[in-house]
């Protein structure tokens, strides 16, 4: 079977795709029924995924199709939770998820590979505020309207939640109001426009977007950087541990920087490549989950 993007998504230009999807719900989510079809390799993408660039998606799909040896279907949903649920339920063969859902479903998921950024499979979470706001300490963000990315996002929610918990605070008490934008890019837009006075955002997304959309990102500034944490990994359901396609996927990802099409994809993602990592890489995230759990 062949996979095509629905015609509607093809008329979306790059700009409006970016604006509309904002790293979240991809409007070209494939037709219902495809996801449950037995044929084809289903690869899930969460909004951690940097860009909704159609070029990137086409390149990635072509690369994975070649590597795995059968048609690949890219599956996107609006929230992390939907992708995580599909993955855990075995309806996706693999997915690029966040470290937070990974540690939550560690017993049901296997790590396939983790992206390497600036030479390490690590990234940070940023607390950001408007660029013209002279805020130096995160404590000064008290009373703000705060934008989170996703309740299942590590950098866009858990890190800030844990920071508050460590200080004996809860978001609803510390911030005047909070809301979710379901996309890191949207957090930046919310803070830049003034809809939110501060936000929790993926540091990798913020840094890369500063190159791609400096006008937007430069309206914000970083108030606090978190410690280095495990980069959102690619995981597969443990039930598919023996599946050759997963092995081929892992080999292809870790060898991506040596493949011509793979390098194109990595260049668009501003990543060095993928590396095989141990689950222990995400122990710091697990610790944060514990902190939050203990506090609440």
């Amino acid at each position: 079977m062949t996979l095509r993007y629905p015609a509607t998504s093809q008329v979306l230009d790059r700009r409006s795709a970016l604006a509309f999807c904002g790293g979240a719900a991809l409007s070209f989510a494939l037709a219902p029924g495809r996801a449950s079809a037995q044929e084809g390799f289903k690869f899930g993408l969460t909004p951690v995924f940097l860009s909704n660039d159609l070029e990137l998606l086409a390149l990635l799909r072509a690369f994975l199709t070649e590597a795995i040896g059968e048609p690949v279907e890219l599956v996107s949903r609006r929230t992390y939770q939907e992708i995580t649920a599909l993955l855990v339920a075995g309806q996706l063969h693999a997915a690029w998820i966040c470290g937070y859902p990974y540690v939550q479903f560690k017993s049901e998921l296997d790590l396939v590979a983790t992206p390497s950024w600036h030479g390490k499979p690590l990234y940070q979470s940023y607390l950001i505020a408007a660029a013209d706001r002279p805020t130096e300490r995160w404590e000064e963000l008290k009373g703000d309207i705060h934008a989170f990315s996703d309740p299942d996002s590590n950098s866009g929610f858990l890190v800030t939640r844990a920071l508050l918990a460590e200080n004996g605070l809860k978001p609803e008490g510390f911030f005047a109001r909070t809301f979710y934008t379901y996309g890191h890019r949207n957090v930046i837009r919310a803070v830049a426009s003034g809809l939110a006075q501060s936000g929790s955002v993926d540091g990798y997304v913020w840094d890369v977007m500063r190159e791609m959309e400096p006008d937007l990102v430069n309206q914000t500034r970083i108030v606090r950087r978190s410690e280095w944490l495990g980069f959102p990994p690619v995981a597969s359901p443990r039930a598919l541990a023996g599946d050759q396609r997963i092995t081929r996927l892992k080999d292809a990802l870790t060898a991506m920087d040596r493949h011509e099409d793979g390098r194109k994809v990595l260049a668009l993602l501003r990543l060095d490549g993928f590396v095989a990592t141990e689950p222990a890489l995400f122990d710091t995230i697990a610790a944060k989950v514990d902190t939050v759990r203990r506090f609440g």
Binding site: G22, N186, L195
Partner: protein, 487 residues
């Protein structure tokens, strides 16, 4: 009223173009008002439609997010819609939730989420879909968000309406300039047209004025319009009138001349008789001298007789000379003039064996101040008429009273009474009809003299039958003053 009076005082050649211009201004004002009204209604319904579809789009985009209270989704939808409706130039959109608080606004720095909507927003809408604030060049529109029959929120929008008002101003300016130019062209055209139209009337008016001042000239063919028509026939009519008037005047002059000659003839024959009477005596005296000239007594008597006879002849000749020499007629009236009349009348009276009742009260110290020639001629004419009307052996009367400010001359006869036409010619306000009968030119000359002096004439029946014609001639003011100074 005074405005209309003033308007009427303006010449027609200016009044008509002014009225045309005023009419144009009025018409253009009405047209402009209609066009602008129509334009504003078209614009408003167009904007209403546009704003309606904008609100429809917004409603569809934000309704699910409002239901969930999703601040980000509402903001995202508003943010995108601002770029999608460029035709409407949206300035701002604010979405409120069921509790009336702001969910999201396109400019969160001005209207933050979760805040109360400012009071001004609720009160700025009118009955129509779109309400305009002309001072701020802004339009406002409002829509309740209703889901399953329940109000779950509202959308408040504002958009830039400056281009709408700018368009109106532009059209107004175009209308004003166009209509101003048209009004100017029409009034200039009207001015020239009216000038052209009333030019013949002006020609006619000038000629009429000249005629009223006594110089009636026919309109020359140069001034006739090139094409015939009403004006040409009007001019022709006027020219015919002028020619008829001239003929009549010539005829009257001829008649006057004839009359003068006729009375001259009568006078001449009277004078010949007057001269002839002493001539017989003179020849007798000469014969007596020839025969008995040597006798001193006879000679002296004869010479004296001849002298008196010659004096009588000289008097007659002098009186005639005084009457018919124009240069002598300009001097003031004096008692001598009246004596001359008496002398001139004598032959005629004698011929008809009539008596003249002579009552002249002419105080010597009173200077005469009325032109002598015309008055003497008038008195002579009246006396000749009276003599003609009075039967043979009857009596005619002349009575002259001279006071400080007027001279009264009455001429009476014993005739059968004056004909109506003659009375009318002397005493009617308008002697025209009587004159046109062509009779009694002597009386017409009397009337002209009286009119020239500013006096009046009365004709009445005399106490013993016949008529009495009384001329009352005022003595002019300045001459009386001169007289008193002289005194």
């Amino acid at each position: 009223m005074r405005f209309f009076a003033r308007l009427r005082a303006i010449p027609v050649s200016y009044r008509v173009p002014i009225l045309v211009a005023l009419l144009m201004v009025a018409i253009s004002a009405v047209i402009s008002e209609r066009v602008l009204d129509r334009l504003s209604r078209t614009q408003e319904s167009f904007i209403d439609g546009l704003a309606g579809s904008y609100l429809d789009g917004l409603t569809a985009a934000v309704l699910p997010a409002v239901l969930r209270g999703d601040v980000w989704e509402v903001f995202d939808a508003l943010d995108r819609s601002q770029r999608s409706y460029q035709a409407l130039s949206p300035i701002e959109a604010v979405v409120t939730g069921a509790d009336g608080k702001v969910l999201a606004a396109t400019d969160p720095t001005r209207i933050p989420s979760f805040s109360e909507l400012p009071e001004a927003y609720a009160s700025r809408y009118g009955a129509r879909t779109v309400t305009f604030d002309r001072e701020a060049d802004t339009g406002f529109a409002f829509r309740d968000l209703v889901y399953q029959g329940q109000k779950i929120g509202a959308i408040h929008t504002a958009f830039d309406a400056s281009h709408i008002f700018a368009e109106r101003r532009e059209i107004l300016a175009t209308l004003l300039v166009t209509n101003g130019i048209l009004a100017a062209i029409f009034s200039l055209g009207g001015f020239l047209l009216v000038r052209r139209m009333i030019e013949p009337m002006r020609v006619l008016e000038d000629h009429m004025r000249a005629a009223a001042n006594g110089v009636a000239e026919p309109i020359s063919s140069r001034e006739f319009p090139s094409r015939g028509g009403e004006v040409a026939s009007l001019f022709n009519g006027y020219n015919a009138l002028v020619h008829a008037e001239r003929e009549r005047a010539n005829f009257a002059m001829q008649l006057a001349e004839e009359e003068k000659l006729a009375s001259l003839g009568r006078l001449a024959s009277g004078m010949a008789h007057e001269i002839n009477n002493p001539l017989g005596g003179l020849f007798n005296a000469i014969d007596t001298l020839k025969t008995h000239g040597r006798t001193p007594g006879v000679r002296d008597t004869s010479i004296s007789l001849i002298e008196r006879g010659l004096n009588g002849i000289r008097e007659v000749v002098e009186a005639a000379l005084a009457t018919y020499r124009p240069e002598r007629s300009a001097r003031p009236l004096s008692a001598d003039d009246l004596e001359d009349v008496r002398v001139l009348m004598k032959p005629e009276l004698r011929r008809r064996r009539q008596r003249l009742d002579w009552q002249v009260d002419w105080p010597a110290e009173v200077a005469a101040t009325i032109p002598g020639g015309p008055v003497r001629q008038a008195v002579l004419n009246l006396l000749l008429n009276a003599s003609a009307a009075t039967p043979e052996a009857g009596a005619v009367g002349l009575r002259v009273e001279r006071t400080a400010d007027q001279l009264t001359i009455s001429v009476s006869d014993e005739g059968p009474g004056m004909p109506k036409d003659s009375i009318a010619m002397l005493s009617d306000e308008d002697p025209g009809p009587a004159v046109r009968t062509g009779r009694g030119l002597g009386l017409w000359m009397v009337r002209r003299m009286v009119d020239a002096c500013g006096g009046k004439v009365d004709v009445e029946a005399g106490p013993s039958g016949g008529s009495v014609v009384t001329l009352v001639l005022p003595i002019p003011e300045e001459t009386r003053n001169e007289r008193s100074h002289a005194a």
